[in-house]
């Protein structure tokens, strides 16, 4: 997967330099295959020690368990690529989960797709609010989304009060969403993979998708190059919010009992961790949606693998944290070496 990264001492987008582009491609292929290799190694070792790990029911479990994280990671990737960050996804997810799943109790016989649309709408509205403030207000996204995290969380707590959505109020078709399989593969995982594939294709091949990378690589440069920075950043935040909203509906289908703490305390940071483990640079301009999804899958796999290996759950966090540190360290090493190689090459070519 090709991604742009402007190495520090290279004029970004030097067009005719086919040789260096090929080199860039190769290195980035290495970068993503690195994550895949870690995942494969992890699965292999666990499978050798405990063959039960690769049983179909266990793989189904991992895929379903990871789906929501991988989905929200797609939205977060779009935002992070533009050199922004969205800390509010966990509150958007929680609010959407409660309000959308609550509809089943309030409106008798409401069709499931309508509930998904409501979740999407709630998410889009929250995302648009973030996007408006970040792009038009020209204020740092970390602070804005930290503030909206608090505000949406507070709204959620007020709305939920002491209530909760209980499993018995949900229709069986909705509750079954995580359990339906096609040829042994969870339908949910296929749907999420399709959405991520579409997102990855958009980022890679659409003009406006490419412009997100340009904005992240060099915001001022992108502005000067005529890219509508404010509009693109707004779109990224809105999409991220919408995806988190849909994630909330899926969360409700998966966990069924929904109160104000859906998603958990650190959901946003876990998603950002998955994105970064997946090779997306935290300061924007490089990375891919597929990488982020694999990052989420890796974190989810660790969870289950430790369980299967009989290692206590209590090791999860430490290993996930260590992996994240390893990933960003390796990533740094690769980009330093890449910049060096490009510099040498351009010196040799006499450009």
């Amino acid at each position: 997967m090709s991604t742009t990264l402007a190495p520090p001492r290279e004029p970004s987008g030097a067009p005719a330099d086919v040789g260096s582009r090929r080199l860039t491609d190769r290195v980035f292929r290495v970068r993503e295959s690195g994550i895949i290799a870690v995942l494969a190694l992890f699965v292999l070792i666990t499978a050798v020690v405990q063959p039960r790990f690769v049983s179909s029911s266990n793989i189904q479990f991992i895929l379903v368990d990871t789906a929501v994280y991988a989905l929200v990671a797609l939205g977060e990737t779009m935002v992070i690529i533009t050199r922004n960050v969205d800390l509010s996804v966990q509150s958007v997810l929680a609010l959407s989960a409660y309000l959308s799943a609550g509809l089943f109790g309030h409106v008798h016989g409401i069709p499931i797709p309508v509930v998904f649309l409501v979740g999407l709408g709630i998410g889009l509205a929250c995302g648009a609010a973030n996007g408006l403030m970040v792009s038009l207000g020209r204020v740092p996204s970390l602070v804005v989304t930290l503030a909206t995290l608090y505000i949406i969380q507070g709204i959620d707590i007020l709305v939920v009060g002491g209530n909760e959505v209980v499993a018995s109020s949900l229709p069986s078709g909705f509750v079954a969403i995580p359990n339906v399989t096609i040829f042994g593969i969870p339908w949910l995982a296929i749907a999420v993979a399709a959405v991520i594939g579409a997102g990855a294709y958009y980022l890679r091949s659409f003009r406006s998708g490419r412009e997100l990378y340009a904005i992240g690589s060099n915001p001022e440069g992108a502005q000067l190059a005529g890219i509508p920075v404010a509009r693109r950043v707004f779109t990224a935040f809105t999409l991220c919010g919408g995806i988190a909203g849909v994630g909330g509906v899926l969360w409700a289908a998966q966990y069924q009992t929904i109160n104000s703490s859906a998603g958990g305390t650190n959901f946003s940071l876990i998603v950002i961790a998955a994105v970064v483990v997946g090779g997306v640079a935290i300061f924007g301009g490089s990375g891919s949606a597929v990488g982020a999804a694999i990052g989420a899958l890796l974190l989810g796999t660790i969870n289950v693998a430790l369980d299967v290996l009989g290692i206590s759950d209590f090791w999860d966090q430490a290993i996930a944290g260590f992996l994240l540190l390893l990933a960003i360290t390796l990533d740094r090493g690769i980009s330093v070496r890449l910049a060096e190689a490009l510099r040498k090459r351009s010196a040799r070519d006499g450009t």
């Binding site: 533009t82 050199r83 922004n84 960050v85 800390l87 403030m133 970040v134 792009s135 207000g137 020209r138 204020v139 740092p140 996204s141 970390l142 602070v143 804005v144 930290l146 503030a147 909206t148 995290l149 608090y150 505000i151 969380q153 507070g154 709204i155 707590i157 007020l158 009060g161 904005i215 915001p219 001022e220 992108a222 502005q223 404010a230 950043v233 104000s260 305390t265 650190n266 940071l269 950002i272 961790a273 970064v276 935290i282 300061f283 206590s312 759950d313 209590f314 090791w315 999860d316 966090q317 430490a318 290993i319 996930a320 944290g321 260590f322 994240l324 540190l325 960003i328 360290t329 740094r332």
Partner: protein
Amino acid sequence: MEPDRTAVPPQAATAPGQPDNPKQAGWRSRIATRHVLRWETGLAVVVVAIGVLGVSTSSEFLTSNNIFNLGLQSGEIAIMALPMTLIIISGEIDLSVASIMGMSSALLGYLFGQGWPLPAIFVVIALVGVVAGAINGLLITRLGLPSLAVTIGTLGLYRGVADIVLGPHTISNFPAAYANIGVDAVPHTDLSFSAAVFIVLAVVFGAVLHFTPAGRSIYAMGASPEAAAFAGIRVKRIKTLLYIASGVICSLAGVLLTFRLSTSVNSNGLGLELDVVAVVLLGGVSIFGGRGTIIGVVLGVLAFAGIQNALLLTNFNQEAASIPVGGLLLVSVFVPNVAAFSRRLRDLISRRSRAVPAATGSGHD
């Protein structure tokens, strides 16, 4: 953290307190405006307003019992906000603070359960804080990794250590002499123990930040790391020391939290890191670094604690206190930009009235 996190042009991040060209007419009134527009001034008004609101809605707000509770609830967050202030001013961030706190709390419980004497445990915990901070600092400064990503990683790692050390156990039979800090005030005052520690540390951190060369260099490296390095400031060393200080202080906060709750569990302090960051930003510290004061952060702490406490007394759902806190945070980030916007507007007008295209000092409009 890099100074340009968003597509914000440089002038949008400029402090309202920075002087324009003093030769321009009307600079005297501008200085006056500047002081009024300072975020700290506005925040002081907000804190007073919260106080008035608290007193008018509840007769209990100013009782010594309530003041003690206010300090008790927010003491540890306030303490962790102090090193965080210096780190954010230096242009970085530390999201691992609550995990270091949790790790310290878990170690305290575990070692106490193993029958260690408390003074020895304190030494071990302080050392662990040093190591945790040093790992953050070295990864960030020596490998040049972004602090946001590194400390999300160590957030997991350190919380993971707490999980591993304590597992599902709960330790709660701490000696009354220590556990009483959750019940008793510091003698002759209404202050909780953690609030008293905060006040002492705020004076120390304030003195270091505002009255020492090291403090000045923290601002310098936050404003421009490269310029600071060229000016001979040991950017990497100072940043590493800041992270180590943060590690130790957060360990201390973990000890205070453990004794206050009289409980050590692996989830102690879970999720507090964003509260700490919020308090610091509420205090007017710029997320881009290079700007902010300890006074502002102390006011931020008071606003944060005051809002929660006032809502508690009015029987409002206390957890919904996050709405006014978030709202205030938004105001805090928009106000300096409104000032910058109005300054751009003023520049534009004064340039027109002189009818001479003056050399622009503040970039494009």
